[in-house]
């Protein structure tokens, strides 16, 4: 009680000293409230103004259009789609196309980036210089131009369908894309798939056992080769024993184009190639910086205890470099995903092309369509970020 009275007393004393609006605690609250009111007011005004203008100009609004029939076709549909389905379905088709090209692009760019980043540090003069040239050339040319290059320059060089280049194994390459035989599973193929799963499980077990044994006895076990045998060789053996229960449907030239099999369209190939080659040049620099950021003594120590060059890189340098590499790597993944929206320039039906291109134009509802597009890209980016942050925490130095 006494303390509270004391507090109140001091406050009262301050009240007497400073005018109401000049008291720090009052000011603090007022500034916050004013900021909130202004922000809310601003957003309300923006939304209200937009809605009023749309109404006045008789422009339709709302999301009712999502259920209407789309009426247009899309060239690459990984989920079932035709022109009598809805705009909402077309949105999903576009979204899947974006996710596919972004996902594959991230994998390809990471692999290529790591190879080139390590190559830049190679003691082989030629390899190191080639990697440098790659990085400097690729990252300094705008991505859009590179996409045009891959699409138009490479496209023009390919032959028409009737003079297709033959790809070993029953595939064809022409200006319409890369046609490959598509696998058709027959009875008994489930067994082969099951064997692959068993192989994966078995190699995980072998890996754990090998670590346990090495910790106890110091003896090493060829985990890699064992796993390879379990995952690849074993299913292959089963496959042959069962009489090869996997048929292939080969593409054939019928009418204008090849029919049957599966086709990788030139738009997709050009976009994937362009995105991964471009982003790889940035990832290469990140990887190089990461490796060089690991103190030289670490590698020397690793070599001193008898590890080979490869082992010291794999077991000592890279794990430490990863901590430096991962955060900027995340940005590159996000960049690649966002850059995939350049697809529209070369005719790949991604989300931006299908949804904020065709759908926007057929419905005219720019505000809704663009808001959804922004929301989708924001979500993809935030999810990628969240995953990479989790991965980063796992790779971070564990303080003991």
């Amino acid at each position: 009680m006494a303390v509270i009275t004391g507090e109140e007393g001091r406050t009262r004393a301050q009240q007497a000293r400073a005018p109401f609006f000049y008291r720090p605690e009052v000011r603090q609250v007022i500034y916050q409230v004013v900021l909130v009111v202004v922000l809310v007011g601003l957003f309300y005004a923006l939304i209200d103004n937009t809605a009023a203008n749309l109404r006045k100009q008789n422009i339709a609004s709302g999301f009712g259009f999502v259920d209407r029939t789309a009426g247009f076709d899309i060239s690459q549909t990984l989920i079932d789609y035709n022109s009598s389905m809805t705009y909402g379905r077309a949105f999903l088709v576009g979204l899947v196309n974006t996710l596919v090209v972004a996902g594959l692009g991230i994998v390809a760019a990471t692999v290529l980036g790591f190879v080139i980043g390590i190559a830049r540090l190679s003691h082989n003069w030629l390899i190191a210089r080639l990697a440098t040239v790659y990085v400097e050339v690729i990252r300094n040319i705008p991505l859009l131009l590179q996409l045009f290059f891959w699409y138009f320059a490479v496209l023009k060089a390919l032959p028409p369908p009737r003079q297709s280049l033959t790809v070993p194994g029953g595939g064809f390459l022409n200006v319409r894309g890369l046609y490959l035989p598509s696998p058709v599973p027959e009875a008994g193929f489930e067994v082969v798939l099951a064997t692959i799963l068993i192989g994966v499980a078995a190699s995980l077990a072998v890996g754990l056992w090998a670590r346990w044994r090495q910790r106890l006895t110091g003896q090493q076990f060829p985990v890699f080769w064992t796993s390879l045998a379990l995952i690849v060789a074993l299913p292959l053996l089963v496959h042959v024993l069962l009489g090869s229960p996997l048929a292939f449907e080969y593409p054939e030239l019928k009418g204008f184009n090849f029919q049957g099999g599966m086709v990788l369209q030139p738009e997709f190939l050009a976009l994937l190639l362009g995105l991964s080659v471009y982003t790889a040049s940035f990832i290469a620099e990140i990887v190089r910086a990461g490796i060089q950021g690991v103190s030289k003594g670490q590698k020397e120590a690793a070599l001193a205890i008898g590890l080979t060059q490869g082992q010291s890189l794999r077991l000592v340098v890279i794990p430490q470099a990863m901590r430096i590499i991962i955060p900027p790597l995340t940005s590159q993944f996000l960049n690649l995903t966002k850059n995939s929206s350049l697809a529209v320039a070369i005719g790949y039906p991604d989300l931006v092309s299908v949804w904020s291109g065709t759908v926007l134009n057929q419905t005219g509802q720019a505000v809704e369509v663009i808001l959804v597009t922004m929301g989708v890209f924001l979500s993809i980016s935030l999810i990628t970020s969240a995953f990479m942050n989790w991965f980063n925490r796992r790779m971070a130095l564990v303080e003991r």
Partner: protein
């Protein structure tokens, strides 16, 4: 205290002011006059309709319509600012007020008249969608296109007609959709597609730009109605009326035989129709908000409809498109204008 009150007041005024300014309705004609030029949305480049030449001067049928409107409003066909728009951007450009009128080989449809908030002021070119193929593939009719790959530009009625046509004829096709005309045509030329489809006028326009136009064939089928015309925003009847009557004036001038060459002497004509048309009798121009001699200014600037058609896309041009439906109503076509009376 005063400081804070001022801050809050300023913020409040700012917010209200922003709302007020944005929703204030201004008349397009006043805006155009104040600016001193007409902002005209045109195609980024389509031979015969709107294309900049090597000196940066815009020419074409649609461009002449921009000039005609400027001539009607200012008496000077050069007071036009051309805003090149892609198929995708065009409506937003008009809706947002970036352009005063959109004359960009744009098809008049009910959806565009309703949910896009536009009004079409007339049809300056009756067109229809067609197909162009390379001569080497030996196709003579669109009915033989089953399984073909088709290059098409996004944001067009073309995309929808294409789907409808193939569906109606039980044929399949693969669309390859581009945002810009250039890339669409490049992909067709590179052999990515068997077929390029757009309005027939566009096909002829692209064909004539090729080094060897005879290598490409425009198939005979027309699969849609594509009435192309100028459009304006809804909610400004005065401006809509001006654009509409500029179009009618061009057609009426042709019907009355008033040409760029004889418009001077025609002003002395005693024919009451021609005297009204050229503003010698009555206050017809003032009634819609321009000068009484607006038709004289238009015809002096670009000629009558027939002249500008032949000059840009017809016999006087490289395109050599037959006038067909675009002939006057009394010459076997369907171009018809209400009388100036």
């Amino acid at each position: 205290m005063t400081y804070l009150t001022k801050l809050i007041a300023a913020a409040a005024v700012g917010v209200i002011g922003a709302v007020g300014a944005a929703s204030a309705q201004t008349k397009t004609l006043d805006t155009v006059k104040q600016r001193g030029s007409l902002s005209c949305g045109v195609n980024v480049g389509l031979a015969g309709f709107s294309q900049p030449d090597d000196k940066g001067n815009w020419t074409g049928l649609d461009v002449d319509y921009c000039k005609a409107i400027a001539a009607a409003v200012f008496g000077d066909p050069n007071k036009v600012k051309y805003v090149p728009t892609t198929a995708k951007e065009r409506f937003t450009a008009l809706q947002s007020g970036e352009v005063d009128v959109l004359i960009r080989n744009t098809t008049w449809t009910i959806a565009r008249d309703s949910s896009l908030g536009l009004m079409f002021a007339g049809v300056n070119y009756y067109d229809g969608q067609g197909f162009m193929v390379k001569k080497s593939i030996g196709v003579k009719s669109a009915k033989e296109l089953n399984g073909a790959t088709v290059c098409v530009q996004t944001g067009t009625t073309t995309e929808l007609n294409l789907a409808d046509y193939f569906k109606a004829n039980n044929m399949t096709y693969k669309p390859v959709v581009f945002e810009k005309l250039d890339e669409t045509v490049q992909a067709y030329l590179a052999g990515r597609c068997d077929v390029y489809t757009t309005d027939q006028s566009g096909l002829y326009s692209i064909r004539v730009q090729q080094p060897k136009p005879e290598d490409h064939v425009v198939l005979p089928e027309i699969i849609s109605k594509e009435p192309l015309g100028p459009s304006v925003r809804q909610g400004d009847d005065q401006w809509f009326t001006i654009v509409k009557w500029v179009h009618f004036a061009l057609i009426n001038a042709e019907e009355a035989g008033v040409t760029q060459a004889n418009v001077g002497e025609m002003q002395n004509s005693t024919n009451p129709d021609i005297r009204r048309l050229l503003g010698k009798d009555g206050e017809l121009g003032k009634g819609i908000g321009v000068g009484n001699d607006f038709v004289v200014n238009i015809v002096k600037a670009v000629g009558n409809y027939g002249e500008l058609f032949e000059r840009n896309v017809g016999s006087g041009s490289r395109l050599k498109i037959d006038r067909g439906l675009n002939k006057l109503w009394n010459k076997g076509g369907i171009q018809y204008a209400p009388p100036l009376r």
